[in-house]
């Protein structure tokens, strides 16, 4: 669990990456939980409680994302290993957070309508929403992210919990039987086999001690 919460391995290896990665993931969690507001009715008290915190998380979220993005371009080693998908997911997240900030600060959307629309979608009674195009963009990008998610490295969010080097503990009390174990046989060309060793032990014991 500690591995999932604090990324201690990353802290050992790369401090800048840890700072950016860690702060980004915390901010992302706050943001996701804050957005539950638009999906849940009636609203639980704790979602209301983290609204302010979530709002500030939104303002700061692009910073670690930008650091992560810049790092991919600046460090030659990381640039070498980066693929299109790495930049794509970072850019997607960046544009989602930035459009979110713009929506919150400059192009205020009437959120009661938004919530009514999402509730409509949840209850299979879709309605048409009249809002600024920027909201549409924000919404569309999130949809793209959700489509892209299962085919990409973003699956690390669930996958790392399954990582055998993280969730397995050495247990010497209990015998582990390999499910796909198969028998092995000696090759006739091998000079030293169990049978030959047996004969050697049974034969005259010159040279052996005790």
């Amino acid at each position: 669990m500690g591995d999932a919460l604090w990324f201690p391995n990353l802290f050992k290896g790369d401090k800048i990456l840890w700072a950016a990665g860690f702060s980004f993931h915390i901010l992302l969690w706050l943001l996701l939980l804050r957005h539950l507001r638009y999906f849940l009715y009636p609203l639980p008290g704790w979602v209301e409680g983290i609204q302010t915190l979530g709002l500030y998380a939104g303002y700061f979220a692009p910073i670690p994302l930008a650091v992560l993005f810049a790092r991919r371009l600046v460090s030659e080693k990381v640039l070498y290993i980066s693929i299109l998908g790495d930049f794509f997911s970072l850019l997607l997240l960046l544009s989602i957070t930035i459009s979110g900030i713009l929506l919150g600060v400059f192009f205020r959307t009437y959120l009661v309508d938004v919530k009514a629309m999402i509730q409509g979608l949840i209850h299979f009674q879709p309605s048409v929403l009249e809002v600024h195009w920027l909201f549409g963009l924000h919404f569309l990008l999130v949809m793209v992210l959700l489509i892209y998610f299962p085919f990409s490295k973003l699956m690390h969010s669930g996958g790392f919990l399954l990582s055998p080097t993280r969730n397995q503990r050495a247990n010497f009390e209990q015998r582990f039987v390999n499910p796909w174990d198969f028998p092995v046989a000696y090759n006739p060309l091998n000079l030293s086999t169990p049978e030959k060793y047996h004969q050697a032990l049974a034969g005259p014991k010159e040279g052996t001690k005790e």
């Binding site: 391995n9 080693k77 070498y80 290993i81 693929i83 690390h156 990582s163 040279g207």
Partner: protein, 297 residues
């Protein structure tokens, strides 16, 4: 004292030409592998790859969850020494990952190179041979990976796949073949092992005046000691240490001429050989009717 290691800048292809000697036919036939590279190596490798991905949950998971954060990039000793970017653990795993993506994931099949997927071609295979044999399976990278991705597992999987198609290096196959002939990596035959042990007895008596036995193949001893074979040959001080320790604690012990090697080179080749070499220890223990096995490398 901590001395910071200078981190090299990348030099593409610095170790591209540094390749291990290919395996020899005489060794390959002894260790149940194809004599030479199969003419249908690609199909054999892909079939084996599917099997490996099925068997080892770790390998498939490590293929999927790497985010290429680069935390491991400057941690590999082979990278620190050479600056070859393919020796960064993440890039080494990518050699495997791109083939995996091409044949086993939807994204790779549809998007191809845009998703960094690549066919298993001759040049990819050459990279595999070069770089998967430039990994010592030390697992230093997994210490720094936030997901605990263990490149050693990927290296082992890749070597297993290559071995199935008859591709291996001489250093590993020769040593494994030697174990099946002599019981150890160094190729010390049984008479030589016995002679070395009696020499150590005499030596101890002469130099320190101690009367310590180094029993070989003693049936009914309590402990079977499986030392690294080099202890009997080069690092004899360690072997003397074992003898003194057993002598002082009064435990009856023995070594075996059938199995006197704690280092298992099957780990560097494939599972079947790994298992067969480990089996020898059990077989020897049963023949000698010991109660415990002390085993180290």
């Amino acid at each position: 004292m901590k001395v910071p290691v200078p981190i090299p800048s990348i030099k593409v292809g610095a170790l591209q030409q540094q390749r291990c000697h290919p395996s020899k036919e005489k060794d390959m036939v002894k260790i149940d592998l194809p004599r030479e590279r199969q003419h249908d190596w690609k199909e054999v490798m892909l079939k084996k790859m599917a099997e490996v991905l099925e068997k080892y949950r770790s390998v498939r998971l490590f293929m999927d969850i790497c985010v290429k954060c680069g935390a491991c990039a400057d941690k590999c000793q082979f990278f620190l020494g050479s600056g070859d970017p393919n020796n960064m653990p993440v890039a080494r795993a990518d050699l495997f990952r791109k083939v995996y993506k091409r044949y086993f994931t939807l994204g790779g099949k549809v998007w191809g190179r845009a998703n960094e997927a690549e066919e298993l071609t001759e040049s990819v295979l050459q990279d595999w041979i070069t770089y998967f044999y430039q990994c010592s399976e030390c697992r230093r990278c997994s210490v720094f990976c936030p997901y605990g991705i263990d490149t050693a597992e990927i290296t082992m999987a890749a070597r297993e796949i290559m071995a199935a198609a008859g591709i291996a290096t001489k250093y590993v196959t020769e040593v494994v073949a030697k174990v099946y002939d002599t019981g150890n990596n160094l190729g010390i035959w049984a008479p030589a092992w016995k002679d070395n042990c009696s020499f150590l007895e005499e030596d101890l008596k002469d130099t320190e005046g101690l009367d310590i036995k180094f029993p070989v193949d003693a049936v009914g001893a309590e402990v079977l000691l499986v030392p690294p074979s080099a202890d009997n040959f080069v690092n004899t001080n360690t072997m003397i240490g074992y003898g003194k320790m057993f002598h002082a604690s009064g435990i009856s012990w023995t070594t075996s001429t059938y199995c006197n090697e704690g280092g298992n080179f099957g780990l560097f080749l494939n599972y079947a050989n790994l298992k067969k070499i480990n089996n020898r220890i059990l077989e020897a223990a049963r023949e000698l009717k010991v109660k415990k096995i002390y085993w180290g490398e």
